[in-house]
Amino acid sequence: MVDQKIWQKMKRVIELYDEMLSTPHRTEIARELRDEDDLFLLLVYSDMLGIPNPAFYYTLELYPFIIERFHDWHLRMGMEHSPLDGLRCC
């Protein structure tokens, strides 16, 4: 019982230590993934932004999934309000 408690504590200390060191890395990985996501969103919305997209018909199906992220995306891209007339999110 005591051994288990000590083991749990040790585990917590190791986790804390790992978290201390990996925090900046986690940030960079999250940023990199977000950049990739942003590019993907641009591809999905490209037709509505005036860039021809042959797969537009199919990307339409993704709208319900990515619409929730649309607001954050246009803010990150430096646009205060939605750039698309059809999508009024704010």
């Binding site: 190791i14 804390l16 230590y17 790992d18 978290e19 201390m20 060191l21 990996s22 925090t23 900046p24 890395h25 940030t27 960079e28 990985i29 999250a30 940023r31 990199e32 977000r34 954050d72």
Partner: protein, 580 residues
């Protein structure tokens, strides 16, 4: 006297500083509010703005600010004896660095997690932002030159450490991919990398063919010509060129590929290094053989040069960039400002403290110390080498063989210095691009053009010839200039903090007093060096140092005038603006 007493004295003052002074600052000056919604909560995005546990954040903050600089400065400054260095490190940490680091963190938290540069624009104006950019540019240029110089010299004096350091690069890239592509964890792979690195260091310490010794390759110490150019040492010249080529690639790669995994591995090394040195100190209890004050140190006065020789470890403007750049965006509760900011500075102070102890306990007698630290130039040139030997002597207390210990210590220091070099060349590239945008010079905003400018100027400065000697003979002279630019940065951040506190209706003295002290010391030191040592009318004229020193001198005066005009305006207006 045992070196343990110096450590205990330092611990006591740090403890009292944290227990009482930081409490006073947090409660009476900053008036931290636990109910304040920090940017980490307000703008939570899972990337930059992430509420983080205070212990985790402290660890992250400390490993970001600690590097080779708090080791090199004290190793040189013990030239004047251990007492001045110890007092400046301990009191500087408690009264200047603690306030500066926690203050910049607090200011940033109260301003949407914005960086000190942006705050300079907001609190003083566009002119201050440009001044800030130029000082950082100067600082990173000095960092690049000094750290390249440090690594090249450590490679020359510890050829058995070279292979370990270079092995770290492909392994770090592998960890980067492992985490990025497979969402793996870093703890275990990074420990494996450490074992590989230290294993290589141990083997290379005994097996000569694994020691990459360029001095021997070029035919001994006397080889001073490289591709027809006269250098202080052909090996030194070659290492600088190799380092600059490496750093060009390292600073243009995405950070997650090389820089971050290396940082992670080096954070282990920081912890291992601190544990080895403090445990070694308490086990071996070495005698302090260096004098308390060195009466033979007459060629360079300790007042004011001590205060620019030890920057990191006593106070460093660079910390403000970290506090306001990343840490402020992750602070869970405003109350944590005290723990993370103030104790971050104390962590750096502990590193400087052990650096002092390692050097002052290394020598067999006071005479041996005086013979090595015979002049300020000799101290600057050999200080780091003495630290490596002194730290190795402490490490032997833990059973590490004497033949291996210096190699391990050299690997740790080179790793710190190399990561700093990576990040500062990258930072320099960003600043050059930003100045390009500011002054409408689109060519220098391009990644490779900006990196090339950063790398070439850094290499040129690292290879600075001194008088009739060849390339690379003037490197150590840059150290006080690095300290000065770091102090200027701290000075301007403290000025911002003073204005910020005044606008909040608090006393600005805790920020203003260290700021005035730093500015006075910087101006005084630069005046002495620029106008009596390097000037065209001095006996040892040095145009390059004279130029750099003069630029820093002008910047310092600029800051002082800005401070006067801003503070007098504040007094005239005496109104609380909508800040914080």
């Amino acid at each position: 006297m045992s070196g343990i007493w110096l450590a205990l004295a330092g611990f006591l003052v740090f403890f009292l500083g944290y227990r009482f002074y930081s409490k006073f600052i947090a409660e009476k000056i900053y008036k931290l509010d636990p109910a304040y919604v920090t940017p980490a909560h307000k703008y939570k995005d899972g990337v930059d703005f992430v509420p983080t546990n205070k212990y985790v954040l402290w660890g992250h903050h400390f490993t970001s600010i600690a590097g080779a600089a708090p080791i090199l400065g004290p190793a040189i400054a013990v030239y004047w004896g251990w007492l001045p260095a110890l007092v400046w490190v301990v009191l500087g940490t408690v009264f200047a660095a603690g306030v500066h680091d926690s203050g910049t963190l607090f200011m940033s938290v109260r301003n949407k997690g914005q960086s000190v540069g942006t705050l300079a624009n907001k609190l003083i104006g566009q002119r201050a932002k440009i001044l800030f950019l130029f000082i950082i540019l100067l600082l990173v240029l000095m960092v690049n030159a000094v750290f390249a110089w440090v690594i090249a010299n450590l490679f020359i004096s510890n050829p058995s450490a070279v292979l370990s350091v270079f092995i770290q690069i492909p392994l770090a890239i592998w960890i980067g991919y492992h985490v990025y592509k497979r969402s793996g964890r870093m703890l275990l792979p990074s420990l494996v990398v450490l074992i590989v690195m230290y294993g290589t260091a141990v083997i290379a310490s005994y097996v000569e063919p694994l020691q990459i010794d360029l001095v021997r390759y070029f035919g001994g110490e006397g080889a001073t010509t490289f591709i027809g150019l006269n250098a202080t040492s052909a090996a030194f010249f070659t290492w600088i060129i190799i380092l600059m080529i490496y750093v060009y690639f390292a600073s243009t790669l995405p950070v997650w590929k090389l820089l971050q995994p290396r940082d992670y591995i080096n954070s282990h090394q920081l912890v291992i290094g601190l544990v080895i040195l403090y445990a070694g100190l308490f086990i071996t209890s070495p005698e302090v053989t260096a004098p308390m004050t060195n009466p033979a140190a007459t060629d360079t006065p300790w007042f004011p040069i001590l205060f620019i020789t030890i920057a990191c470890g006593a106070i460093s403007g660079f910390h403000g960039l970290v506090s306001s750049g990343t840490t402020s965006k992750q602070l869970n509760n405003e109350r944590d400002v005290r723990f993370v900011g103030y104790l971050g500075a104390v962590g750096e102070g502990l590193l400087a403290l052990i650096a002092i102890i390692a050097v002052v306990t290394f020598f067999s007698s006071t005479d041996a110390f005086t013979a090595t630290y015979s002049s300020f130039g000799a101290a600057s040139d050999g200080g780091l080498g003495v630290f490596v030997q002194g730290a190795a002597a402490l490490a032997t207390g833990l059973g590490i063989p004497a033949a291996v210990a210096p190699t391990i210590i050299a690997v740790i220091i080179v790793s710190f210095a190399a990561t700093t070099l990576d990040s500062s060349v990258r930072l320099m590239r960003y600043i050059i691009s930003e100045l390009g945008v500011e002054y409408s010079l689109p060519t220098i905003t391009k990644k490779h053009v900006a990196t090339a400018i950063a790398v070439f100027s850094s290499a040129a400065l690292a290879l600075i010839p001194q008088g009739p000697n060849g390339f690379g003979s003037g490197g150590y002279l840059l150290w006080p200039l690095f300290g000065t630019s770091n102090q200027l940065l701290a000075g301007i951040s403290l000025l911002l903090l003073a204005i910020f506190l005044r606008r909040r209706g608090s006393s600005m003295l805790p920020a203003l007093i260290p700021m005035v002290f730093l500015m006075f010391m910087t101006l005084y030191a630069m005046f002495v060096q620029v106008f009596t040592d390097w000037a065209p009318w001095a006996s040892n004229t040095d145009w390059l140092l004279f130029t750099f020193g003069s630029i820093i001198f002008v910047f310092a005066i600029w800051i002082v005038f800005t401070a006067f005009s801003v503070i007098s305006n504040e007094r005239k207006n005496n109104k609380f603006k909508d800040i914080g």
